[in-house]
């Protein structure tokens, strides 16, 4: 599928969309498909520091719990409250359902992440394994 090119992707299937010195973070359409019906999202409080590669929350489907990993470091400036009561939005629109917004501590970290085309290839390779 065509992943949006306005953002970067992690191997753990998060996306990060930069906007100046801040960025929004969510999970990919591939991730929501793999999880199935999402029923629960746990997000950090505003003001929390998240660290690149470290857990910042979790997302749960009926069957499974999955950790969320930060694509970049920074301070949480907003969370998408809507998802705590309507987590199924992630299933219907994963790329439109941002989870947290952070003030980037080091915007250069995004250079280490995959582009949309690279991520597409990565997902295809994973499926072929």
């Amino acid at each position: 599928m065509g992943y949006p090119t306005d953002r970067k992707y992690t191997k753990e299937h998060e996306w990060i969309k930069p906007d100046g010195g801040s960025a929004t973070i969510g999970i990919t359409d591939h991730a929501q498909q793999a999880l199935g019906d999402i029923v629960f999202v746990e997000l950090p409080k505003v003001g929390t520091d998240v660290n690149v590669g470290k857990t910042f929350g979790s997302v749960e489907s009926v069957k499974a719990v999955s950790d969320l990993f930060a694509p970049a470091s920074g301070k949480v400036t907003a969370i998408n409250e809507e998802l705590t009561t309507a987590s199924e939005k992630i299933n219907s629109d994963a790329h439109g359902s941002w989870m947290i917004k952070i003030a980037l501590a080091n915007p250069g970290e995004l250079n280490n992440l995959m582009s949309a085309a690279d991520y597409d290839k990565y997902v295809a390779e994973e499926a072929g394994k």
């Binding site: 498909q33 019906d37 746990e42 749960e60 069957k63 719990v65």
Partner: protein
């Protein structure tokens, strides 16, 4: 996962059907089985929650051919069944079935089973997929002193479960048997999809009304029956259902799952299944002495139903804590309940915490989240006039 283990997975005759329907497949007890069908069917959206709701409100079709079957025949077959299982099989009429279990001498579980009386001196045990080999070996070893023949007939059948309030209307379109005459936990034989003498049982693992049918396990026959059931099911809003929904449906109904609520280290009394254990039946049975002793002595833990009070989902193996945060037990199965729209769990706790309304906590990612003991089963199907 390595390719070697994938190659070793067993497949039911309907594996190709599941894959063509776009099912998400999973290794379940060594079988390559559908966990859910995200694409749905006939314009109806699928996925675990939709499949669960379809069974509670309409009808769903499950491939449960991974289940095993053991047939005991011969003049000593009743005595053999009585010896190896805890319920009283002498009470069964021909064409009647009941829930029972095979036990170790300690009163713990080899497996739970449905015993069907096919006729005089002829019994069929339906057993779990993950324990098939173990069960067959155990039954053979423990029936040597009886005049009966033990046959592993699990591979002979494709077993389909048609479950939900509309299951009877749907299946009636495909059979000449009068299904209204088949009571819960009874079975009959009739022509289904032109297959003569097909076993039709009013049983299931969903806490809903429904039937399980046993058809020849060749791919062509199995696919044809699946196709006809799905086709006839369209007007009832049928969905193909995977093991994901099967698990949440049975959990709402507090039906035990081997390896979770019951196992070789959990006894019948702890699992709160004593009502199926007939101490006063004429024959002795394996596990009886240990259970009588435990009954006298009392149990240290018992299975209870929990409902989360605060936000959080209890999962299998999470710790249960008392209100002060001390560990007192563990969750055997925990999940959101799609029909009840609550987060529920089954858990082992000391008897003093088992009263309805007792407050406990479930440890979720290091935090104690409030829960309370609630009556079970969590879901009971509404009574319908038949």
């Amino acid at each position: 996962m390595t390719t070697a283990t994938v190659a070793q997975l067993r497949k039911t005759a309907l594996n190709g059907v599941h894959r063509r329907l776009g099912a998400k497949m999973v290794d379940f007890g060594g079988w390559d089985m559908p966990v859910e069908y995200p694409a749905g069917f006939n314009g109806k959206p699928g996925g675990l929650i939709n499949e669960h709701i379809a069974v509670r409100t309409r009808v769903g079709l499950f491939d449960v051919s991974h289940m095993g079957d053991i047939q005991l025949r011969g003049p000593g077959s009743l005595d053999a069944v009585q010896h190896i299982s805890m319920n009283d099989a002498s009470k069964l009429a021909t064409n009647q079935a009941h829930y029972s279990a095979l036990l170790y001498p300690q009163g713990t579980f080899v497996d739970d089973v449905i015993v069907h009386k096919l006729g005089e001196n002829d019994y069929l045990l339906v057993i779990n997929a993950g324990t098939r080999e173990k069960d067959v070996n155990w039954v053979r070893q423990n029936t040597r002193d009886f005049k009966c023949h033990v046959m592993d007939v699990g591979d002979h059948y494709t077993q389909l479960a048609i479950q939900g309030p509309k299951a009877i209307d749907l299946l009636q379109r495909l059979t000449n048997a009068d299904l209204s005459k088949v009571k819960n936990y009874w079975f009959t034989f009739g022509t289904v999809c032109k297959l003569r003498d097909t076993m039709i049982a009013r049983t299931g693992y969903t806490a809903e009304d429904g039937f399980e049918i046993y058809v020849p396990s060749d791919e062509k026959t199995s696919e044809e029956v699946w196709k006809q059931v799905m086709e006839a099911g369209k007007e009832f809003g049928i969905l193909p259902c995977g093991l994901g929904a099967r698990n949440t449906l049975r959990l709402e109904g507090k039906m035990a799952l081997y390896g979770h609520e019951i196992s070789d280290t959990i006894t019948v009394l702890e699992a709160d299944l004593g009502r199926y254990c007939k101490f006063d039946k004429p024959n002795d049975f394996v596990g009886k002495a240990a259970l009588l002793k435990q009954k006298e002595k009392g149990i240290d833990r018992i299975l209870v139903g929990l409902e989360m009070i605060d936000r959080g989902i209890a999962r299998d193996e999470y710790k249960v804590l008392d209100e002060s945060g001390q560990p007192i037990g563990y969750v055997t199965s925990g999940s959101p309940a799609p029909f009840l729209k609550k987060n529920i769990a089954l858990a082992y706790v000391p008897p003093k915490f088992s009263e309805i309304g007792a407050k406990v906590k479930v440890e979720i990612r290091g935090q104690g989240v409030a829960a309370q003991v609630v009556p079970t089963p969590f879901y009971k199907r509404p009574k319908r006039s038949q």
